[in-house]
């Protein structure tokens, strides 16, 4: 069962891994569906959900709500799974989602040194750099160097906390609300919230950078 869209958009790539992997994955899909284990239409839906519904826009809504609603922020820090569930952004939030709060004295950063664990229901699939050897190796012993790679400089006396996601707990950083944004709507605040600021490798956009 050749799937036409597999031939799409790869023509401009010439990497040998690409054609090899394309063939390998196509053979796996064909054999596993002929054996009756999977339905390719289900794969289509999974891919579509990852490309359209699941992404950092969900996390941005969570952060914006926490910035504008102190009761929600308190609930989020107490039990992020429960608090995010109440927003109805996604059908079901995974268990043991934990929000960690940045303050003027403390900066949090998330990593998975062993593989690629990531709070994908609120942030989407992790970017390539998050899964890469440079990030996974250096986040735990050179976070200021990693932050410099992202163009982020923290004050020398800011405490840094790295959360290594070594179990099925998942972390999202609650960044500090940018100055000059008090009273903004949640929708407008959400435009300041980048994916990277919820991982801890970035900071939110400034008020004058709002969309």
């Amino acid at each position: 069962m050749a799937r036409d869209h597999e031939h799409d958009d790869d023509g401009h790539h010439r990497g040998s891994e690409l054609s090899e992997m394309q063939l390998r994955v196509r053979a796996l899909e064909t054999v596993l569906s002929e054996k009756g284990y999977i339905d390719p239409a289900a794969l289509d839906l999974m891919i579509e959900a990852h490309e359209t519904k699941i992404g950092p826009h969900n996390g941005a809504r969570v952060v914006a709500k926490a910035w504008s609603d102190p009761a929600f922020k308190q609930a989020l820090l107490a039990d992020a799974t429960k608090a995010v569930q109440t927003l109805g952004l996604i059908s079901r939030v995974g268990d043991h989602l934990i929000a960690v709060e940045n303050t003027p004295k403390l900066h949090n950063m998330i990593v998975c040194t062993l593989c690629s664990c990531y709070p994908w229901e609120v942030l989407g699939l992790p970017p390539v750099w998050y899964k890469s050897a440079p990030y996974r190796s250096r986040a735990v012993n050179d976070p200021r160097g990693v932050l410099a790679d992202f163009g982020v400089m923290l004050p020398a006396d800011t405490q840094i906390r790295i959360w290594d996601s070594t179990a099925e707990t998942r972390f999202i950083v609650l960044p500090m609300q940018p100055h000059g944004t008090d009273g903004w709507s949640e929708e407008k605040l959400a435009t300041l919230v980048t994916r990277d600021c919820m991982i801890g490798t970035g900071l939110p956009k400034l008020a004058n950078e709002a969309a």
Partner: protein, 220 residues
């Protein structure tokens, strides 16, 4: 397993290179590969920890030379062959040549929402937690040849229990087909200088999520 996947604290991998406006998938096969892997997990072909072990068991040179979804494709191929869901000859032919080995369920479109939520790994406690918040603990100096979630950089070091996260499926057990064997899970926080020596950043703390069997009371 003391494999190449256990990268925390290693040197020499260079700068982190974020990609501007990165797409969710860089080629169509990556999406198919992700969905296939998730699908086989969702129908019970293997547990998440067996799947992680499947990545870790790739040879180190292959691990480092392969893209992320390239590793997933190799893992999927190795595991469907090793567990008898498909033969190497069938994958080479690109078609099924034999009847399927039975699995409890097939992944259909109705199952998709379930695959979009992370699994549930909390379990009822079988015994009281051995450690309390604020306790000093030492991670054991263990080097199992099979899957573990205690990273090398954090073995044999003293930290403090910051939170108790409940009782969870124990990856070291499920990864080798040993059942869920639920264990208490703790957030244990270390000073960077405890882990990486006196020259480490004095403003830095690192936490791991540590299962109780990884921990012992430090010597007084």
């Amino acid at each position: 397993m003391d494999g190449i996947h256990d990268m925390g604290g290693m040197h020499g991998f260079g700068k982190v290179e974020p990609e501007k406006n990165e797409p969710v998938f860089h080629a169509a096969w990556e999406g198919r590969c992700l969905a296939l892997n998730r699908a086989m997990g969702a129908i019970g072909a293997w547990t998440i920890d067996e799947g992680r072990a499947g990545i870790e068991e790739l040879p180190p040179d292959v691990y480092l030379a392969s893209s992320y979804y390239g590793k997933w494709a190799l893992r999927l191929q190795n595991m469907v062959i090793a567990r008898g869901f498909a033969g190497a000859d069938e994958l080479a032919a690109g078609h099924a040549l034999r009847e399927a080995k039975p699995l409890p369920r097939k992944l259909t479109t109705a199952d998709v929402p379930r695959t979009l939520t992370r699994g549930s790994f909390g379990r009822p406690a079988l015994a009281p937690a051995r450690f309390a918040v604020g306790d000093r603990v030492r991670t054991k100096n263990i080097h199992p040849k099979t899957h573990t979630r205690l990273p090398r950089y954090a073995r044999g070091h003293v930290g403090v229990v910051e939170a108790i996260r409940g009782c969870h499926v124990f990856p070291d057990s499920t990864a080798v087909g040993g059942g869920e064997n639920p264990q208490w899970l703790y957030t244990v926080v270390f000073d960077a200088r405890e882990l990486f020596g006196e020259a480490a950043d004095p403003t830095l703390k690192i936490s791991i999520e540590a299962f109780e069997p990884y921990l012992e009371s430090p010597q007084p």
